[in-house]
Symmetry: C2
Subunit: 359 residues, 2 copies
DNA sequence: CTGAAAGCGCTAACAT
DNA sequence: ATGTTAGCGCTTTCAG
């Protein structure tokens, strides 16, 4: 019963079989146009007889000149793309909002910072807009490729790009708030564990010269916010926002400071994962939190595994940020003026910060 | 300088300007066909003069009848799609391999288990193949939608589907191995913390009737493997593979058992996240690991934050699994016979399992 | 409310 | 090595 037809049925064949014109058949599927219920049923019946499963998206896309696809560049290191819970939550919000408009998200692996080659999808894949979740560097190969192709861009968390809406965070203010909290608790010797600076993955203390190289915007903004309040006694650069790097950094910062009386009494990290690593390092060194050392993070992640500690952290609206990015995409496609925005953040004290230890 | 042309330049315009035919111009870009270097340069020059940035993917796709897009259904709960490090690592491997073939990954949010509505992208988006990372249920709306559209499917981790390659895990054997390890250490009272059963999110102890409902394949397989060796004294069902649910489950399992002498001496969890939650619960209850209770997981995740404990876990090759899925996709597109495979897993003992406590 | 016709931009036979 | 031609499958004016 029912030989497989050599090729997929087309709208034309359905129309023919239903005894109507293609345009009418098209109407039957689009649902929008004026069409008698009977005609529509006739078309639908013919379609199901032929095993026609609806208009071929490729034809529709070419005709409309739109793919309905949004390219999302995520991650700054291939193979590590989704290990970042921050990016992942943003992505979640983004997918949600775009889904309501029938837009699909095409994943595009980010480039290795420091290399100039970009993913071929960036050059060839069909997309109506691209979203750069992680912001842009000063000379960003990803952004360049997109601009060469005239693909409109929405930027999350970064420096503004000509003609592209920017969904940013008030992370400078947030970082300042975190440090102010520490200062109010009496801390003066505050160490900083920072996010990657940009190109090249380095780890270790950063001197003034290196500090000037911070090119990645979240890093630069948070560094600036911290310095709005106090100058860190040391800045430890990490190659990625991962627990293990936070742990390594804090082990160095807390363990090797001589004399111990000059040890920093507080650590402010650029991310919660780094801060969590610092908490673990402190525990391993036998230090009490916050009695011996206070630790503050940034992001507001839910980290049940840090229990019983709850990280003091600058919360940012991650899913909301994704949703805003999505809305910016939709606006852009609707031909509206791109509007940028900076989302508010706020410090939420946990159990990991307290008064400076008395000496 | 340079008014914006009303509409994007096309290959035809480039050809015209270069004084060649469209097909020649096409050749200049495809790079494959026979063409003199001079002609090619002429075309390329004309292109850059016109600001032509390469063939429009939409036209190419329609012509070729292929979109170069692979739909990947991930997550079984919208808005929670990427919170699962297991799925995320699989995705990583998948994106990697597909990238080498120029194939893009279109994210498709999974349906809410238990609801029959599917994401509209599933019905309308262009895709050459779809990958169901998380396997299929017995009556899977996602799979149904795909089959209706005649989209070829590759299934990860699940029951076999007619004509679809299956990239599975030997998780039954792996689960058995974990339990055998516990039994060899002398444990007899072993509790099980299980992954979700399928439709509907429930949490709590599962009776025999409920056990029979386990529809999601990884869950069913791991349950079977455990029972190949021993019958758990209790099976605690969780609504999702999250640390907090593992913690809740273990708190109940370890805390409320009366008399305490009948408390399970070991817990085997269907996932590392659940197991990690159990470790945290045990710590909170003041129990030593593994002196008071042994805990084994499944997945082989790297969990630096569980330090100093290292989870005893059945390691599965996650990125490899993603890569295999990708290769299955590529084979399918090349018209080759779909071949299924079951990847090996292996127990890697950590610090969280030890001999049964002497009473 | 329905039909006819025009093409979206490209590639791949085929012919030269 | 290059040109000619014919669509891929669809939507959308524009007439009727």
């Amino acid at each position: 019963m029912g030989r497989t037809p050599s090729s997929r049925p087309t709208l034309a064949r359905v129309a023919e079989r239903a005894g109507v014109s293609v345009s009418t058949a098209s109407l039957a599927f689009s649902g929008s146009g004026p069409i008698t219920p009977e005609t529509r049923d006739k078309v639908l019946a013919a379609a199901s007889e032929l095993g026609y499963t609806g208009p071929n998206p490729l034809g529709r896309q070419l005709r409309r000149g739109r793919s309905g696809i949004v390219g999302v560049v995520i991650g700054d290191h291939p193979g590590r793309a989704f290990r970042d819970p921050v990016a992942v939550q943003v992505l979640d919000g983004l997918v949600d909002v775009l889904g309501t408009e029938g837009l699909g998200v095409l994943l595009i692996p980010g480039v290795d910072l420091g290399q100039d080659a970009v993913d071929p999808l960036l050059e060839t894949a069909a997309m109506d807009v691209a979203v750069l979740v992680w912001g842009v560097l000063s000379e960003d190969p990803t952004l360049n490729a997109l601009q060469r192709r005239n693909v409109p861009v929405v930027v999350g968390e970064g420096r503004a790009v000509e003609g592209a809406p920017l969904v940013a965070l008030e992370d400078r203010a947030g970082a300042a708030e975190a440090v102010r909290h520490l200062v109010e608790l009496g801390h003066t010797r505050i160490a900083e564990i920072s996010l990657p600076f940009g190109r090249g993955e380095r780890s270790g203390p950063a001197d003034a010269e290196r500090l000037a190289c911070a090119d990645r915007t979240p890093t630069a903004h948070r560094m600036a916010g911290i310095r709005d309040v106090v100058d860190p006694v040391i800045t430890w650069e990490t190659p990625a926002s991962l627990v293990e790097h936070g742990r390594d950094a804090a082990t160095e910062i807390l363990g090797t400071w001589v004399p111990a009386s000059e040890r920093p009494t507080a650590i402010v990290a650029h991310s919660d994962l780094l801060a969590a690593g610092a908490v673990i390092a402190a525990r391993e060194l036998g230090l009490s939190i916050p009695e011996d050392v206070s630790i503050a993070g940034f992001d507001g992640l839910d980290l049940p595994w840090l229990s019983p500690d709850v990280l003091t952290s600058v919360h940012q609206p991650l899913r909301e940020k994704g949703a805003r990015l999505g809305r910016a995409v939709i606006d852009l496609l609707a031909g509206e003026e791109p509007t940028s925005i900076a989302l508010p953040v706020g410090l939420v004290p946990g159990t990991t910060t307290g008064p400076v230890p008395r000496t």
